[in-house]
Symmetry: C2
Subunit: 377 residues, 2 copies
């Protein structure tokens, strides 16, 4: 009987019309019927990525697409730059190092944003660098990096730029081609309003050229196999059919709304979330807050309790901090199928929980601040 | 308006009560609610694998679990034996060779079954062999290998035995522990009556010992990460939540029926399918037919047309041959949620298609032969 409200940065809520597609009788994947659906999603993904390049769909978590980027671009001994500002940026380095790739760090403290000038400097000092890996919106801290400027810098060198957009795509404005991003990776369970289980990756011509010399062994994540199967609207291995059928529906919804309108709505929800946090007296966390998740500092002694109490007492799921930020921040997601009223539910329940945990707050104030921001638009 | 009948060896039909679980509101994966579901599926998987070892769930196609076995057991330069008898057995060799592993072949012609004596001989001649890789039911040809005897042989050596049961598990009798199998890999879209997108793997203590020295690089498929997360009923990366929720339902159905009864029903469907093929004058293909898919030879000039016409005219999906067998055989699956009446639908439509394609057959005869077999049980 318990009713849940999901304000977590993945999985995000799934629209009923998308969820029901998962329940349709399954199609065989080597048929023209499924091929047409796959083709339709592949075209839609290009629109959402804002790219002319092909976008491939993998049966994997988002991390699978990150690994796909690493193992298809590089060889053991290659040098890369990792510009990380949080947990998911650090993952680029961990994957690469495991494959014998030398990682040059242009990373910053968690909470800060990546510095394009540092990347530029590292590229100048290390002319053999094959690729730069960074993160669009860093979910673990709630910041957004300036991918456009980074793309400008990297595009002038021989290196390719690979960006993890798992949490930001179909949430905050992102333009793979205009911003000169070579490799974009993403996942299904955030802005796409889908269940987890699908990962996406696109490669520019420059990235494909680097792929030609890649010597890291791979089989399941060998992108050449996906490129070949793409020609016949297929995947090299049995695809998650029901998830792809539901992807077709969610892409249809995004197209009908228009990607710019999706971005704009997230921007408004972000404004409302920041206003709500401030009204609660909570300091925002993160140098440049992104538009898909809002982080705020909380008193350490009650940090873990806030998340737990919200879920157990009111069915509201938000996220806490990861790694060193555990217990120190809370994170409200506002992407995908999270709407205006959901943000208000989140703050209304957060107010009650904070008061219960002994924090002095004025009930209704955060809700009102969020309302004001939502009404201004 | 078109109605489809799926008699393909994966994806197989999904029971409505399982499919609907996919459409439920999504749960967050780091909650006790989801943890309980994950734990429940992990226990159920042990029952279906017939093992006391932990069974880990990956977000991947079945091939992802095969790669997981290779990269976690071996190091570049290691020697292994691959005993293949078809397309999926050959995949073991392809994955391993890609990772610099030396493959000693104990393979047989497609259509034949693997010879345990050949494996024994190869193990004696190559005492450094680290592992033997083979296939339980080889979907591409429709045969079943004698895993029990192979397990007996391999268990007396230092090598571990890894078996691909993607198409056979929860279909034909399989007992991982009793048969001394060290590594069992499987997938969700066959006997499990689920959508594709989940892969499963279990490891014996002997396999874990081999894992300690494995030097092949890995990240997403690093089994140690899954073992660690398993302790807290989690997965290292965001799991396909909706597929795991539906897995809980399908496991519940299998447990209620009893795995022995599941095996027995497949056996009866296999008998009926073989009887039907014979009644049509089609020669069975495969040295030892398995109980999850039945293969029969068809006149080459109409091989491809049979599959296409069945699907386009009657909505019935069966499989043709793969590789060199393309156009030479047809394959009827009878696993998972394929029932007695489905087999009769398959033969009734196949009779019409064969007559339309100019083959002299007596309509109703194959249906009657299958009926007889079904009624005898």
């Amino acid at each position: 009987m318990k009713k849940y409200y999901l304000l977590t940065p993945g999985p995000t809520p799934i629209p009923p019309q998308v969820a029901l597609k998962e329940a349709l009788p399954i199609l065989h994947h080597r048929t023209s019927e499924f091929g047409q659906i796959y083709k339709d999603t592949a075209e839609g993904l290009k629109y959402i990525f804002q790219t002319k390049n092909e976008v491939y769909t993998l049966a994997a978590s988002g991390t699978g697409a990150m690994e796909t980027a690493i193992v298809n671009l590089l060889s053991p001994g290659d040098e890369i730059i990792v510009a990380s500002c949080g947990n998911f940026g650090d993952r680029w380095a961990k994957i690469a190092q495991g494959y014998g790739v030398k990682v040059i760090s242009a990373s910053v403290e968690w909470g800060k944003v990546v510095k394009p000038a540092e990347i530029e400097k590292a590229l100048k000092e290390n002319p053999n660098v094959k690729a730069v890996f960074t993160t669009f919106t860093e979910t673990s801290t709630g910041v957004v990096n300036d991918i456009k400027t980074i793309g400008e810098i990297v595009s002038k060198t021989n290196a390719v730029l690979a960006v993890d957009t798992i949490s930001g795509l179909a949430g905050q404005e992102y333009r793979a081609d205009d911003w000169k991003v070579d490799v974009t990776v993403s996942g299904s369970q955030k802005g796409f309003m889908l269940a987890p289980g699908l990962a996406f990756i696109s490669l520019s011509d420059k990235a494909w050229k680097l792929n030609e010399n890649s010597k890291i062994p791979k089989f399941y994540f060998d992108i050449k196999k996906y490129k070949k199967s793409y020609l016949t609207n297929e995947t090299p291995f049995t695809p998650p059919v029901t998830l792809i059928v539901s992807l077709q529906e969610s892409i249809k919804m995004i197209k009908e709304k228009g990607i710019e309108n999706v971005w704009n709505e997230c921007k408004i929800l972000a404004k409302a979330s920041r206003a709500g946090m401030k009204a609660l007296g909570l300091e925002l966390f993160g140098e440049v807050p992104c538009e898909v998740v809002t982080s705020a500092k909380v008193p350490e002694e009650i940090g873990g309790k806030i998340v737990k109490t919200l879920r157990e007492k009111y069915g509201v799921s938000i996220a806490g901090g990861q790694g060193d930020l555990k217990g120190k921040i809370i994170r409200f997601a506002h992407m995908g199928y999270i709407g205006k009223a959901d943000i208000l539910v989140g703050f209304a329940c957060l107010e009650m929980v904070l008061e219960e945990l002994g924090v002095k707050i004025e009930k209704g104030k955060a809700v009102a601040a969020a309302q004001d921001a939502l009404m201004k638009g």
